[in-house]
Amino acid sequence: MKHKGQNVYMVSGGVTKFSKATPEMDFRLRVKKAFDYAVNDIHLDLKDIDGSVASYFSDHFQRQLMSGIMVQDYLGLTPKPSKRIEGGGATGGLAFQTGYEEVASGRMDVCAVYGFETMSHVNTWKGNEFIALASDTNFDYPVGGFYTGYYAMMAVRHMHEFGTTVEQLAKVSIKNHGNAMHNPYAQSPMKLTVEDVRNSPMVSYPLTRLDVCTMSDGAAVAILASEDKAFELTDHPVLVKSIGTGTDTMRLSDRPFLKVPLLANEKESDYRNLKYPGVHSFRAGRTAAKEAYDAAGITDPLNEIDLVELHDAYTSSEVQTYEDLGLCRYGEGGSFVEEGKSALNGKVPVNPSGGLLASGHPVGATGIMQSVFMFWQLQHSIKKHFKDDTLQVKNAKRGLIHSHAGTGTYVTVSVMEAVR
């Protein structure tokens, strides 16, 4: 894989507060609010924007095709170029990377990436049905299509393979809901104990209500720019150092049992008896990380990455993702969280914003929200935007954002770096 484009910077971002339902605003107005926040933060003029990328997952939630152009229209960006990107839960991450490509290719100097989802137009269980339509509708959906069920089966296998415990999974929930108490944009800040998590209603064994993210309405915007334009627009741009993307089979049942694709800091002898990915790991996540690390020259992720915002739709998927990203070896994800290594004051804070579990998961906005929170972290401007600097990671110089779809079918990893 060759990465030869021009340097791409993020210059501004905006997020609406994610919430269960905001019927007083439609998706266009929600994006407009996030967009205006981003535009006003650097006094950007509409005419400086060369084009855009629209990010939203489901046409079912709104029963409106071409929602993307309705946003483009509302924002006053017509007749500039734009396209819609969709890839399940990773829609936001893919759209962010598409914006990166628009700038890296030299086509655009400034690209606005906007994401949104309006999930409150249907009830939670209908919403789950719509999401389950993102599993194979001939073979998986009719058997009992329910994403929490699929992730629960992966969690059970991870527990069997590596000895991961439900208490370790609960620690992810406690950490992320706890971090969110200092994030004014978060949907569900909560102070929790292991008992709270385990005693909340069982959704799919072993995942309880507090192991699973919620449905949300929300929008997020990232403004990307070329090097010359970035420094013209702001004194504090953040470099998007590299991107990586991976994929895997639509059906969980088709995942093979092969060898682990090794990162620079791993040896074949680390995984002598491990059949990979099976259903315990995300090969797409590993593939995305490997591409992004190679392009950024990262050989020791735990020591070379200062913080991570990753796709924790489930507590179990956060644990699985520590391993895919090489923050620890496969099998060590449970103890990684238990030992506090991913805590706000840990070795590498993971989801200091509260992640999807606590910030919310309005699908098309989620991956872009991660980029905005990471941008503010690397700008060291959390205090300005959150009116509270508790979540500001002190040494934040290099961050990783990770967006994830389906049962691990599309995964994106992007590395971002502070420049001064």
Binding site: W125, E129, G149, A152, H160, S204, P206, L252, R255, V279
Partner: protein, 163 residues
């Protein structure tokens, strides 16, 4: 000439259900029947009616799938249908206490991924005849078939099997 200065739309009583007035929130109904083809996977569904579970085997590299798959993901070659064993083992499982709206009335239900001896990939199905605490990874399970077909992958399901 048809100009009518008193033209009037007929009044109807098919009004809209209103949930709230500020903002105005209304009910919007949507329903559709698709003409859905199982296309190259049709044989899998027909075979379930003959109490047979069919997988796919690559003509070229010999990779075996416990699912229908016209072409091999390992080498791109065509596959042939072949009959899977009637018994397998639980590779992983869950019990769903909630679900998508369509399946809510069936909760709680068990989902399993079945591994078959000598087959390279898994098969997802329902398991009945066992509660959550009875299910173990490695447990032997047996395929059973509906007599009255639904023409759906749920025409096959699994039950616990004796060792």
């Amino acid at each position: 000439m048809t100009i009518d200065y008193d033209a009037k739309m007929p009044e109807t009583q098919d009004g809209t259900e209103v949930y709230n007035v500020d903002p105005l929130i209304v009910k919007s109904h949507y329903e559709i029947d698709y003409i859905h083809s199982y296309a190259q996977d049709s044989e899998f569904f027909r075979a379930l009616g003959k109490k047979k579970l069919m997988g796919s085997k690559c003509r070229k590299c010999g990779y075996t799938y416990a699912t229908p798959r016209g072409h091999c993901m390992m080498c791109g070659s065509e596959t042939d249908w072949y009959e899977l064993p009637n018994e397998g083992r639980v590779h992983t499982y869950t019990t769903c206490y909630f679900g998508s709206e369509k399946f809510l009335p069936e909760t709680p239900f068990n989902l399993i991924m079945v591994e078959f001896e000598g087959v390279d990939s898994l098969f997802m199905a329902r398991l009945i005849g066992a509660d959550q605490e009875d299910i173990k990874i490695g447990m032997k399970v047996r395929a059973k078939f509906r007599r009255n077909l639904q023409i759906s992958p749920t025409d096959v399901y699994f039950v616990p099997a004796k060792e």
